[in-house]
């Protein structure tokens, strides 16, 4: 129970605190915070919002897992943003230009995306291992390059085609689609949302049950102890970065294979950065990340309703930022409180006898 309290209390406190902050911001700007929050909550039942939240959760979850793998060994992959974009273009181009039986076609596209993401991440990984280049800087630069590369690849004289006033890659034939679960007028849940869940389970197993997960965590906790224990730091950086990139590559798969069937100019941006915040909020734990991803998706999608009550929708962005900041503080506060409580409890149990 104490453990549960230590793990759950901080994010709850952080969310309440940031809700309070946003409430104050709303009051200052002349709106009624209770009404605003009420609108957001009731929005979940409206139209396709609930399904949108689920779909968006899946996407965020994959992005945050990609970030979390790097975080485990203090490797900051800021490049998820670029990795998933490049992977999306490449996978869409490949998927639209091959013909394969259903199922296999989708599988090839997914694998292509993973490989493309990994290759894009390989550049900063190799730079770090061979030249000691800080991965934060190199991945940020790779994000810039990714934008340019994607724009180039969908150019109509390269792989793209012009449709109306939108440029996109050729449509992936139906054999490459992944069907979803339809809820009629409430929308369709992407089939690949389950891929996200599967990745989460895989991530937990990897971190807690495999040699690689152990070595990853050891490297993150103490590089010197890991080295003395025979963990090869360069190899770990390389593998962790490639794995992170491969998972990042999957971020847009639910949408592309489930709805868009193409990469176009309206491709969503910023998911990689949200992934960083979500991984932080979820403390790199697969369950924590899932919770954080749901929250993020809820704020995003329900926040759209704020316009209806004349509240600026940007308040949601403020809230997301406030949550991440306060969660860091809350963990520390609760940790100290916990320790003190635990000691008082043990003291009562033991009396003052015997130290062994």
């Amino acid at each position: 129970m104490g453990i549960l309290r230590g793990k759950l209390l901080p994010p709850v406190l952080a969310i309440l605190f940031s809700a309070l902050l946003c409430g104050i911001a709303l009051v200052v700007s002349g709106a009624n915070p209770l009404r605003a929050f009420g609108v957001m909550l009731s929005q979940v039942g409206e139209g396709t919002t609930a399904v949108d939240i689920i779909n968006s959760t899946g996407t965020y979850y994959i992005a945050a897992l990609a970030v979390a793998i790097g975080f485990q060994m203090n490797l900051f992959n800021i490049g998820v943003e670029g990795q998933y974009r490049v992977a999306a273009v490449v996978a869409a181009v490949v998927g639209g230009s091959i013909a394969l039986p259903p199922g296999l076609h989708a599988l090839v596209i997914i694998l292509t995306a993973a490989v493309a993401g990994a290759l894009w991440a390989a550049v900063p990984a190799i730079l770090k291992v061979t030249r000691g280049v800080n991965e934060v800087i190199s991945t940020i630069m790779m994000n810039g390059l990714a934008l340019g590369l994607a724009a180039y690849l969908i150019g109509s004289d390269v792989f793209g085609e012009l449709r109306g006033n939108n440029i996109r890659t050729p449509e992936i034939p139906e054999s490459g689609w992944v069907p979803g679960i339809s809820f009629g007028s409430s929308g369709t849940v992407f089939g690949l949302v389950f891929l996200a869940a599967l990745l989460g389970v895989g991530y937990w197993v990897m971190m807690n049950r495999t040699r690689f997960g152990f070595e990853l965590r050891a490297s993150g906790e103490s590089a010197t102890a890991a080295a003395a224990g025979g963990v090869n730091a360069k190899k770990m950086v390389l593998i962790a970065m490639l794995l992170s990139g491969a998972i990042a590559g999957l971020v847009s798969m639910p949408e592309i294979l489930g709805r868009d069937h193409t990469y176009n100019l309206n491709f969503p941006a910023g998911i990689g950065f949200s992934g960083i915040a979500i991984a932080l909020l979820g403390r790199n734990h697969p369950g924590g990340i899932a919770f954080a991803a749901v929250l993020w998706a809820f704020l995003d999608k329900s926040g759209l309703a704020l316009d209806n009550v004349q509240v600026p929708r940007e308040i949601v962005t403020i809230m997301q930022g406030a949550i991440v900041l306060s969660v860091v503080v809350a963990y520390e506060v609760v940790r100290r409180f916990e320790l003190a409580a635990q000691q008082r409890q043990v003291g009562r149990q033991l009396g003052t006898v015997d130290a062994a």
């Binding site: 040699r211 003395a228 006898v353």
Partner: protein, 524 residues
């Protein structure tokens, strides 16, 4: 005997941790200008008591008086304001900062961070015997110098009462003498010291009074001049002082480790850290390396372990050339490794004990199967180590950081002797453990040796080195300069050979001086 107010009085201190009562109703009174020693078994609660005095931990019960006034320290900053400073058992320096940055960090308001601070550091450095430039990165310093930086840090903040938690564990006798000279000098100037050590001879040499702690409570205070080490040990544990004497030789002629012509250069254009090292360790043999800290022992060990890459020369394990192999492959080939600094290299402090059992063995049973960890196996074997090595812990699920220093060491030793290694590289294997545990570790090493284990032993404790080793090699400035016969050599002879003062005894055979490089010179 005096009527002056004591520098520090602790009364009725009680401190509980989950599953453990670290201090229970402790009373301690320290006079101004004395060196007050604190002795006790591993896990007796010495470090905890000192952390309480230093404001790092809050007592559950009890009061602290400094210079006659009752105080409450909520943080070390409060303690520093009251003139109390602490040098920890495990150093707390930032590797990637310079000496000056480490010293000034958090005390910028005293003398700024520039030239004035540097000047003050250089003034104080003399008192601690630190000779390196304040601009040097701490990661380049050896353990002895790191300690001097820690003392410097405390002095810089104006401490009058200085806590030294096992300061001599990392020092060779000459350095201990230097430290004691420093302490005596500072005592004259009115500094007060609280001094923790497991080496009872040292306690008797430097301390004006000694308080013994057993299982969290004070057993009593004694005059160290009036009691023998044996009596002190009995106060602590009720057992006798062990001796590391090895009886009959078990040396075979099967070579396990052969180091040929090994060389290592730290930076271009500087004197090599390792200079043509040739070394052989046979099955059943313990080869001891004697040397003042910083003469290349660390580098030798890390090169043999594959943590550093040799510039030339070969390392052979049995008939197998392992020079190009990484650390993991060498461990898999049967090398166990007790690193000199258990916190930096030996343990994952935030992880439970059983996860620490896996470190270094992650590719072998009983803690893993192929790519999978075997948690049940790891936990079972951790319990075995806890039992066999008498690791005092409430359980194997607690984080390693919750163990006392000596108990952490026992865990590391137990792990490295697991899985039947053919070669054990032991850097200061009993650093920080109490006399009882020391005997236990010695016995374990001797038993393994009788079963054919080859051991390369590095130790600052010359009694340990002489008592355990079958062969002793003396290391100076990156070279093996002399051999000593452990059957006849005395710590004094060995000590002077280590400082390069030349052989003073027939038991030390210096290598032909012609082999020495003509270009050899002091310093850079």
């Amino acid at each position: 005997m005096s009527t002056t107010t004591p520098a520090v009085v602790l009364s009725g201190i009680t401190k509980r941790f989950p599953g453990v009562v670290a201090n229970s109703d402790v009373h301690l009174s320290v006079q101004v200008g004395e060196v007050h020693a604190l002795c006790g078994e591993n896990g007796a609660g010495k470090s905890t008591l000192m952390k309480i005095l230093y404001g790092m931990q809050q007592p559950d019960e009890g009061t602290i008086e400094v210079a006659g006034k009752q105080v409450r320290f909520r943080t070390p900053a409060d303690a520093i304001k009251a003139g109390i400073g602490m040098v920890h058992q495990h150093f707390m320096l930032a590797d990637n900062l310079t000496v000056q940055e480490n010293v000034v960090l958090g005390a910028e308001s005293l003398h700024g961070i520039g030239g004035k601070a540097r000047k003050r550091i250089l003034e104080l450095a003399k008192a601690t015997g630190l000779t390196v430039d304040p601009g040097v990165l701490v990661e380049r310093l050896g353990v002895a110098d790191r300690q001097r930086v820690e003392i410097l840090k405390v002095l810089y903040r104006g401490a009058k009462v200085i806590i030294l938690d096992e300061p001599t564990a990392v020092l060779v006798p000459q350095e201990v003498d230097e430290l004691f000279a420093t302490l005596r000098g500072m005592r004259e100037q009115g500094f007060t010291f609280l001094f923790i050590s497991h080496k009872l001879d040292e306690v008797r040499a430097i301390a004006d009074s000694v308080t013994v702690i057993r299982r969290g409570t004070t057993v009593g205070t004694a005059d160290p001049k009036a009691v023998s080490s044996r009596q002190l040990a009995e106060m602590m544990v009720g057992s006798e002082l062990p001796s590391p004497e090895t009886r009959e030789s078990t040396v075979t002629d099967r070579v396990v480790l052969r180091v040929e012509n090994l060389g290592l250069v730290a930076a271009e254009g500087t004197r090599p850290v390792l200079d043509d090292i040739d070394l052989v360790v046979r099955a059943g043999e313990i080869v001891g390396i004697a040397g003042v800290e910083g003469n290349g022992q660390t580098e030798l060990v890390e090169t043999v372990m594959g943590i550093r890459k040799a510039h030339h020369g070969r390392v052979l394990l049995g008939d197998k050339d392992v020079t190009r192999l990484g650390t993991l492959a060498r461990r898999e080939a049967g090398i166990g490794y007790i690193p000199e600094d258990r916190h930096r290299q030996g343990l994952l402090l935030e992880q439970p004990l059983w996860a620490n059992r896996i470190l270094g063995h992650q590719t072998r049973g009983p803690v893993s199967k192929g790519q999978w960890l075997d948690l049940a196996g790891a936990k079972k074997d951790t319990r075995r180590i806890v039992d066999e090595f008498d690791v005092r812990t409430p359980g194997i699920d607690v984080a390693a950081v919750a163990l006392s220093g000596g108990n952490q060491q026992k865990l590391v030793v137990g792990r490295e002797l697991s899985g039947d290694p053919v070669l054990l590289i032991a850097s200061h294997p009993t650093r920080g453990v109490d006399v009882g545990a020391q005997a236990l570790i010695w016995d374990e090493i001797k038993n393994a040796r009788a079963r054919g284990l080859a051991v390369l032993l590095i130790s600052a404790d010359l009694d340990e080195l002489i008592g355990l080793s079958d062969t002793i090699r003396v290391m100076l400035r990156g070279r093996l300069v002399a051999d000593a016969d452990p059957a006849t050599v005395t710590p004094e002879d060995l000590g002077s050979a280590m400082t390069g003062a030349g052989a003073t005894s027939a038991a030390v055979a210096e290598h032909a001086p012609g082999a020495a490089k003509a270009s050899e010179s002091e310093g850079e």
